[in-house]
Amino acid sequence: MKILVCISKTPDTTSKIAFKDNDSKFEETGVQWIINPYDEWYALVRAIELKEKDASVQLHLITVGLSDCDPIIRKALALGGEEAIRVNATSDDSYYIAAQIAEVAKQNNYDLVLTGKETIDYNASSVGGMLAELLDMPYVSLATQLEINGGIATITREIEGGEEVDEVQLPVVVSCQKGVAEQRIPNMRGIMAARTKPLKVIEPANIDTLTKVVTFELPPAKAGVKLVAADNVPELVRLLHEEAKVI
């Protein structure tokens, strides 16, 4: 079985969000970059677990990004996987990213392609579905459990107000979230091994971008909390009813 895990570089959850150049670009100064948590904790770790169960599994990682992605790729390789591919391009358009990954995936006949459920910066939840379409594979989104047996994937996925269990024959694209696996910390052996694992840099295919961020904006600052005394609960009810008009 060949597995491809798609990873993305995102600012750490605790990063201060600010913009520059007339609010057209994200201010990267001082930002700590991480592997998008859904890609790392769930998609990648589950793929590593599948490989641990079956040594014949081949595990490749891919990202679309410039050389500033290399540290997070090395970190991902320290967790596991034989090799990584970096498509040397950057874009905020999901279609562009998905189409670049699809170009690579088409040449390698992967049985299982995993993504995180969304990135924590663009929150689009789109690359997995687009990739599935471009590869003409079935797509199961928002997985909370994933098992592979005899070429069949059994996937529990989130639906509104509950969950369902799906069965699908490989190949399949799956977007992963909490439940699929547990976060791991790379160990020293993994970190050392990652230094010599192949990181192939390939130039991008000629793909159109279909969307473009024009401006960013921070939400208006909260007016500040209105505190109500603990012995004056009716006042809170009045505020919610008359001022906020939500009850």
Binding site: N123, T154, G162
Partner: protein
């Protein structure tokens, strides 16, 4: 034409579908065109009533096998319908179903996608859609440059508006491909408001000390017809089921009112709830970071404050 995907479950049309129908109708008016709905599968609702939300026609692919989701099959049908009907914009809810289908449709039609829109597009200069980015910490205005455009709307971000108008219903004859995904079981919590659709959410954290104390949360939720939720440590300790976990790694919600009881407000929790229109925080620690993100707050013991709040709300609702 603006084509709106109508999501449904258990023979019922989802609340998020009414939001996208209203959104699609308002967008069509802005573009000087008409809006139509597309329903794949079967529901018990009288489809002509969907005219109330501003659309003139409902196209239906009347095949009960489509009541189960296979993203590949459904995106194929939506794309075929969009081509047949010459749709310029296709609108989805950014709910679980929309997340599965919208990206596939966009890739299939080579249409730009804005996923998680929070407002109507600005069409004064192109087609620019506002969406949440950085997990609710900012907005981005995104321009779609392709001919066909796909927008998925965040649940609870566009008001439902209704009229007395009725829609015509037209059966769409499309060949339904065989599904590759087989749904073997469905496990839904019956009789509760789904978290992502709830207008009011009451949520508890570690401050409640143990699962045996959840009655005060449930009573308040019941009085408000609200959904219940919890913070990550609560779900991780199995005090509450995982599907109630809201936050960065749980479910992201945007209700009109979010009441956080005994939750300190870690940044990962805020990332899941910061799009709520109003936040009430009840916590005995005046230094709890959540107060900084709240609209209203009470510094006090939840076990005293919450039952009183429930009582007052019951009084008001009588």
């Amino acid at each position: 034409m603006v084509l709106v995907f109508i999501d449904h479950s258990d023979e019922q049309i989802r609340k998020s579908s009414f939001e996208v129908l209203s959104y699609g109708a308002a967008l069509a008016e802005k573009l000087g065109t008409s809006a139509a709905g597309l329903l794949l599968g079967t529901v018990s609702t009288d489809l002509t009533s969907l005219g109330n939300y501003g659309i003139s026609v409902v196209y239906q692919v009347n095949d009960a096998s489509l009541n189960q989701l296979d993203a590949q099959v459904q995106s194929h049908l939506v794309s075929e319908a969009a081509k047949k009907l010459n749709a310029a914009v296709i609108v989805f809810s950014h709910n679980q179903t929309g997340r599965a289908i919208a990206p596939r449709v966009a890739a299939r039609l080579k249409a730009g996608l804005v996923a998680g829109a929070v407002a109507l597009p600005d069409t004064s200069n192109g087609f620019v859609v506002r969406k949440n980015v950085f997990s609710g910490k900012a907005f981005a205005d995104v321009s779609i440059t392709s001919d066909i455009k796909v927008v998925s709307l965040n649940p609870n971000s566009f008001p439902v508006s209704t009229t007395q108008a009725v829609a015509t219903v037209e059966k769409l004859q499309l060949e339904v491909p065989a599904a590759k995904v087989r749904v073997t079981s469905v496990n839904k919590v019956k009789g509760e408001v789904p978290l992502t659709e709830a207008e009011i959410v009451v949520s508890g954290g570690r401050g409640l000390k143990g699962p045996e104390n959840w009655a005060i949360v449930e009573d308040l939720a019941h009085a408000l017809h609200a959904a219940t939720a919890c913070s990550r440590p609560v779900a991780d300790s199995h005090w509450r089921p995982h599907h109630e976990h809201v936050g960065q790694t749980g479910i992201q919600i945007a209700p009109n009112l979010y009441i956080a009881i005994g939750i300190s407000g870690a940044i990962q929790h805020l990332a899941g709830v910061n799009r709520s229109k109003n936040i009430v925080v009840i916590n005995k620690d005046p230094e709890a970071p959540f107060f900084k993100a709240a609209d209203y707050g009470i510094v006090g013991d939840a076990f005293e404050v919450v039952p009183k709040l429930t009582e007052e709300i019951k009084k008001m609702r009588q």
